[in-house]
């Protein structure tokens, strides 16, 4: 028996029927083909699947699609608008904040939330805010630099 889910993704409302066990990450990837949201673990550890659910950074592998009924979700595909990259995307490119790119979507979504909560975070605050997202390529050095750069180009200090 499927469940009804009405969900707004990147500004577009979708009405779907999915098996109750469907995770939000699976709904995004398999039902809507939004494959920018990646799945890197099965223990809610890596953060590659992080999306914004009603503005809160959320590991989409740790939430049933049915729990997101009525919610508004932003994925990496929804960060850019009108062909303009989001400042965090610009910053990741500018500061070489990605190598293999697999953790990048979740990392950028988390960074968006860090900067929404604090437009000019310290290095320590950035590192603390990123602790739920794992990266194996960058040693986090340039990810931190990218978040600092995004803060600067967005008007934070």
């Amino acid at each position: 028996m499927n469940v009804d889910v009405t969900i707004t993704i990147n500004g577009t409302e979708h009405r779907l029927q999915v098996p109750p066990r469907t995770l939000l990450s699976q709904l995004l990837r398999d039902e809507l083909d939004l494959t920018g949201t990646h799945v890197g673990c099965d223990t809610s550890s890596c953060g590659a699947c992080t999306v914004l659910v009603d503005g809160n950074a959320t590991k989409s592998c740790t939430m049933f699609a049915a729990q997101a009924d009525g919610c508004s979700v932003t994925t990496v595909e929804g960060l850019a608008s009108n062909g303009e990259l989001h400042p965090i995307q610009e910053a990741f490119r500018e500061k070489h904040g990605l190598q293999c790119g697999f953790c990048t979507p979740g990392m950028m979504i988390t960074a968006v939330q860090i900067l929404e909560r604090n437009p000019s975070p310290s290095e320590e605050e950035i590192r603390s805010g990123l602790r739920g997202n794992l990266c194996r390529c960058t040693g986090y050095h340039n990810i931190v630099a990218a978040v600092q750069h995004a803060a600067a180009i967005s008007g934070g200090d």
Partner: protein, 802 residues
Amino acid sequence: MTTETLIGQEVKRVEDQALITGRGQYVDDLRLPGLLHLALVRSPYGHAKINRIDVSAAANAPGVVSVFTGADLAEQLGSLPAGWVLIPEQTGGDPMATPEHPPLAVEKVRYVGDAVAAVVASSPAAASDAVALVDVDYEPLPAVTDAEAATQEGAPEIHEGVANNKSFDWTVAAGDYDAAAAEADVVVKERIVNQRLIPNPMEPRGIMADYNAGTEQLTIWTSTQIPHLVRLLFALVTGHPEHKVRVIAPDVGGGFGCKLYLYAEEVIVGIIAKQLEKPVKWIESRTENYVATTHGRDHIADAEICGTKDGVVTGLKVHVYANLGGYLSTFAPAIPTILFGLMLGGCYKFENLSCTVAGVFTNTTPVDAYRGAGRPEATYVVERMIERYAHEIGRDVLGVRRRNFIRPFRRGHDMPIGVTYDSGNYQGALAAALDKFDYQAFRQEQRNARREGRLLGVGFSTYIEICGMAPSAVAGALGAGAGLWESSTVRVHPTGTVTVFTGTSPHGQGHETTLSQITSSRIGIPMENIEVVHGDTERHQFGTGTFGSRSLAVGGQALMMSLDKVIEKAKQIAAHEMGVDAKQVVFENGTFYVEDIQEREIPWGDVALGAYHAKNLPDGLEPGLEAVSFFDPQNFTWPFGTHIAVIEIDEMTGETSLVRYVAIDDVGNVINPMIVDGMVHGGIAQGVGQALQESAVYSDDGQLLTGSMMDYAVPTAEDFPSFETGRTVTPTSVNSLGAKGAGETGTIAASPAVVNAAVDALKHLGVSHLNMPLSPEKMWRTIQEAKEAQRARRSAAAKRGN
């Protein structure tokens, strides 16, 4: 516009636009109509006999299409190969043991995670549900997970007829260590454990295969570092003709060595897709990745260093128990031997070396290359033992290093072990590091901190590595089953835009950017007119792949050769057009001209068009503008550097934190410093992660206790400070770029630097060695025990005084 300047520039990556907008295409992002999903039944036992497998319940489960056991597919699946078979001259005359490795176990399982059956279903959920319904009757057998224990009498026999579970005893030596030790003032011995690690690329492995029964063409998409070798090995193992297999590595989410083999799943998924004539996909879960994808390191080394009491090291002797896991992975035999033993000279003048390595089967996940692969283990022994020795003779660790450094050289230095370093200036790298790090000031700060009850320590690593894999003749003579050259094609299109094909296979290293920079600079066209293609055996001829920091040093040179060829031909066409001799033609910034006749110049695009229009070509010259090259270097490359770690230990909790990290690397000439710095950062994080927190732990009966990301401590952003990086530049003459390779420096250098720092912080308590990882509990206990011992010594001394 001049484009020459792109070499050495921090050009932003061309890869990024897709990856930052969610348009990357990793294997799990690929879809095909009618796609079926495969899940594997894996052994829950470290060692067990398989009595019977009953698949009937699984086969009848909803959505299930088919269930296969190893017995069903034994002939089609073959046995996974050992791609590197050590030569008998180095294994005491005995051939190394290369037991069968069936992709699906038939009679016995040899580690937790060994696959025994494959379920194919209409959805991933249906497949994994049905896995639970496969009934396997296992008869558990005694297991062994420790490499030393596995060699002892009475240990369980893992492979029939492999005595003491040893695949090989490998030996290499220079001079006469025993004589040197007998004459030495000081001999220091230490057991040095280099613990097992789980590589953890953020993308687990994934494979999709599609078979066209009409053409017999089998296409395999796989998250790999070596698509061409996967195709070759797949064909050899399964008998499916090589020219009917296409292997594609799409976007690959990190590798670090663990995607460098022909894996059982590649064979299983490919053969089942062929059998069913349907597309099939397998995506590895993370928990599955922890048992099914190769691990790294796992050495138990007994090391001895000898020298004079005033600081001249005369010899190093090492015996290693190298854990190979349950089977031989593709390159497993080479990692703890060739890439370890030949590195033990470090950057020092040791004359006498002795290295013996026992390669041992255990009931654990197979061990193979993990970033650095043999070289971190060697560097750890060398750099730990040199500081151990310096402490023993009461000399400064830098003074001892300087005393033993090989003098700077630019044109080769023969090492006693039989290898020739290309170029080096170890003093220069150390000096550059000390420009950033005030050693004397630190020693003062350390004394002050100790008075305040804070434990600070500094550790050094003046490392060297072997990169640019590599001369095929040398590797082949040492047992490599494949050549290690690299290939390139440069295809100039009629409009003058260029497609570069490379046999390297990047998974985060930014080759599209770096190779475009080289091409742009050589031809003088903008980077947007260049496309770099990799990772598809049907688009590019055979190549080797990306590992061992070889892509620029070998693949980059192959590109340079093809660029030279197309430019040479283009000059002939331009000369013919201008009515001059080709020798008179100068090519600069995308324009052909003749010196002193400025009005006679032809742009690159016109020559390209002319090559295809072919209405005015020199006699005998073929139309078209394309070149293929294969580069096989004459030597490896030998990057080096100095890394400095500063750590602080919280005496109350044992928590050990990295507070500062300075890295000076010499990787020769650099094409894109931004990309090199990024790789250095990542490598440092992996090396520091090993030193401070990572460790794969097995129970004695073969259960992986650190079996998920909840249990294995992958470092987070909070675990590091920002790193301070810099470079010295000592070009190599092994390739015309002067580039040595930069992918592994950090991992190789960092773990000894951090452990040396921790020992330095506790030296005054009498601590002389610590085994990784430096967990808070271990450090707290070490400090308590050291203080207790110190109190006992003082009280004994006081009693003697009375």
